[in-house]
């Protein structure tokens, strides 16, 4: 589904990603861990197509198409979803409006036609209930005045509404209390299917315990330096990153 080949990227002419290779197949869940500043969010932004993140080498294909040729909205309509590490506040735009505009843009792209107001309301309320999100958050401006954890749950609500094929979640677990973490993990698990894949950036093993990823990768200085299964996350929890960073590079995904 996703094939990242030798990805090099710069931000403000500063090299951040230095040759990432990662293959993600439908049905798989990949976790990416790694020290602060190693390039995890940069990878996520490059995938989503944010301005200012310049790819100067390498290739990314998404379902056989060149992802880097697509505008951000086209990537999303094609099935990519990025859950932000720092969700953006948008004063003056209600959550409900944003969700409706987003869902309908994607449905139009899929040729499904707009959802009518009643069906939409029913759908969004149901999803909100499943994620333990109070209905009143739907009517508030996007993320404005939301607590850290509320913002993260709101990202998961957007994911659940848009039903993407490839979900990239950047530190969706940071700032969540223990119960919210469980709710978010359940939300992710509920979406798991043989047609869908996940790339989950996290610092903590707890989320991975709920999700049981198929692969765990360690990103360091803009490269994947180690890949393994969930037991790698256990090792990292115990020993930190020091022992890996000195290890030889060049592991594949």
């Amino acid at each position: 589904m996703l094939d990242i080949q030798n990805l090099h990227a710069t931000v403000n002419d500063k090299p951040i990603l230095n040759g990432i290779n990662l293959q993600v197949n439908a049905g798989e869940v990949h976790a990416i861990m790694g020290p602060n500043g190693s390039g995890k969010s940069t990878t996520a932004y490059v995938l989503a197509g944010r301005d200012g993140y310049d790819v100067n080498q390498g290739h990314i294909s998404f379902e056989g198409k060149n992802l880097l040729d697509m505008e951000p909205e086209i990537r999303t309509r094609a099935g990519l979803f990025l859950g932000f590490q720092y969700p953006v506040e948008i004063p003056g735009v209600s959550n409900m409006y944003m969700l409706k505009a987003a869902l309908n843009a994607i449905r139009m792209h899929r040729g499904e036609g707009e959802l009518d107001a009643i069906d939409f309301l029913q759908l969004v309320k149901q999803k909100a209930r499943e994620l333990n999100i109070d209905e009143k958050f739907l009517y508030r401006d996007v993320n404005v005045g939301f607590s850290g954890g509320e913002k993260k749950r709101n990202e998961i609500l957007q994911m659940a509404m848009l039903e993407p094929k490839l979900v990239v979640l950047d530190e969706i677990d940071s700032g969540l209390d223990i119960d919210a973490l469980k709710v978010v993990a359940d939300g992710i698990n509920a979406l798991r299917s043989p047609e869908r894949a996940f790339v989950i950036v996290t610092h903590y093993k707890r989320l991975l315990d709920y999700i049981q990823p198929d692969f765990v990768h360690v990103l360091s200085e803009g490269r994947i330096v180690k890949s393994g299964n969930i037991s790698l996350a256990d090792e990292l929890e115990e020993q930190g990153y020091g022992w890996i960073e000195t290890a030889p590079t060049g592991t594949d995904g």
């Binding site: 909205e73 948008i90 004063p91 003056g92 409900m96 409006y97 409706k100 505009a101």
Partner: protein, 441 residues
């Protein structure tokens, strides 16, 4: 008599000017005739405010001088459907075309109501003493356009709400017009007696012929009175519009004033509010400029007595090669202790060629006050644009949604739902190909 270098009435001799004045409503009243003559000579002395005039620094009046705008003696009738489209249901409606009152298009039956809502010309006939006492009682004729208005105003709105009376239905004044090169001077007088309240909406529309509308409004709120005023200025793109509003609030009186400016080539709104003891005013506005429009909002709020509060929120959105100007001055006089004042002026620049000029000012002569002001000038937030695109919205729609969101706060302030949706619709016409769906809001 020596004429100022150039003015819209330069082509008229003094005799002709006097003759034009003679045709105005109310000239049978000696006090009014005298005031008009005095104002005319003052105007001829001062001319228009020029660049040297600090308060007019950003808004040159040259273009107005260059045009030969002339007082009109009769209106050119406009398409009634255009006017009907702007009407608000259940309102007392007064329609003026080129400044002339149109009884057939108006709807001001107040026979069942203990209030007076009529055109100023009728009030001059029916209640000359009341008008004489209040007219020009707070208008300080502080620049040439005010003199010009005082010299030539012919009609306008007259409202008198007796004490302890609440007029629940809105009063809606629609100014339309289409006479080319017309100079239209209108005058409004609103008197709200003790513990009374009223709600006024003023809509300005016109076609694309060049014209000058020069309006002066006086609103007098006695103790505990409440006035809400909504101005929607949406004239054609060759309109020059100068509007001066004077409001005086007595003890514990309240004023809510919304100013929405979408149309016009050059627009200047002067808003002056004088606050009594414990009085409250809230001024909010939205200005959207495009092409080469120039819209200037100029506020001056004077805290004269203790414990009054003033809240100002004026937003500007400037696109293309347009210019939006905001000047806001809060004056806190020596005795005005415990003043509470907040002025905010967020600006959104949508184009590199657009210009925003903003000048907030505080003049404080009291020591126990709370005054804050904030100005921001920015473009659309990149992170928000990316966020919306990452949710599947195309860039054009994302920009429109964010621009709309910026403006929306000022619209949500409107109390009448019908007016709110009217202003909303108007704003949405600025986003022609947009996917902003009003039925989703």
């Amino acid at each position: 008599m020596e004429m100022a270098t150039q003015n819209p009435i330069q082509h008229f001799s003094t005799d002709q000017l006097n003759h034009l004045q003679d045709q105005l409503n109310g000239m049978h009243l000696p006090w009014l005739a005298e005031r008009r003559q005095h104002a005319l000579s003052r105007f001829i002395e001062t001319g228009f405010p020029g660049r040297k005039h600090e308060e007019w620094r950003y808004t040159p009046t040259r273009d107005i001088e260059k045009h030969d705008f002339k007082p009109v003696t009769s209106p050119t009738l406009v398409d009634t459907n255009v006017i009907l489209k702007h009407q608000i249901s259940n309102a007392l409606t007064l329609v003026f075309v080129d400044g002339f009152f149109q009884p057939d298009l108006s709807r001001i039956d107040t026979s069942a109501l203990p209030v007076t809502v009529t055109n100023l010309a009728s009030a001059l006939d029916q209640f000359p003493d009341l008008v004489e006492t209040h007219l020009d009682s707070i208008n300080q004729n502080h620049h040439g356009f005010c003199y010009l208005n005082s010299a030539f105003f012919n009609d306008g709105l007259f409202v008198h709400i007796p004490e302890f009376t609440a007029l629940d239905i809105p009063i809606h004044v629609i100014h339309a017009g289409s006479t080319s090169d017309a100079m239209i001077s209108t005058r409004n007088l609103v008197i709200a007696e003790q513990d009374s309240s009223c709600h006024i909406i003023e809509t300005w529309i016109s076609n694309d012929t060049p014209r000058l509308t020069n309006s002066v409004t006086e609103m007098i709120a006695a103790d505990n009175a409440r006035i809400e005023m909504n101005n929607i200025q949406d004239q054609g793109n060759n309109s020059y519009h100068i509007s001066t509003t004077w409001s005086q609030l007595a003890n514990s009186a309240q004023l809510t004033h919304h100013g929405f400016n979408f149309g016009g080539q050059l627009v200047r709104n002067d808003i002056n509010t004088l606050l009594g003891n414990n009085a409250k005013c809230r001024h909010s506005g939205l200005t959207v400029t495009r092409h080469n429009q120039h819209i200037d909002n100029h506020l001056r709020i004077e805290h004269l007595y203790p414990e009054a509060s003033s809240q100002v929120l004026y937003k500007n959105i400037a696109d293309d090669k347009s210019r939006a100007v905001f000047q806001g001055c809060i004056v806190v006089h020596k005795d005005a202790q415990q003043t509470d004042s907040n002025m905010s002026n967020p600006n959104l620049l949508l184009s590199n060629d657009a210009i925003i000029n903003t000048k907030p000012q505080l003049q404080i002569d009291a020591d126990d006050v709370q005054c804050a002001h904030g100005v921001t000038v920015g473009e659309l937030e990149q992170s928000a644009l990316f966020f919306l695109r990452s949710r599947g919205l195309d860039e054009h729609t994302a920009r429109n949604i964010l621009t709309f969101a910026f403006a929306n706060e000022t619209i949500q302030d409107i109390t009448s739902t019908e007016l709110k949706s009217m202003v909303l619709d108007k704003l949405l016409t600025h986003f022609p190909q947009s996917a902003i769906r009003v039925d989703w809001l």
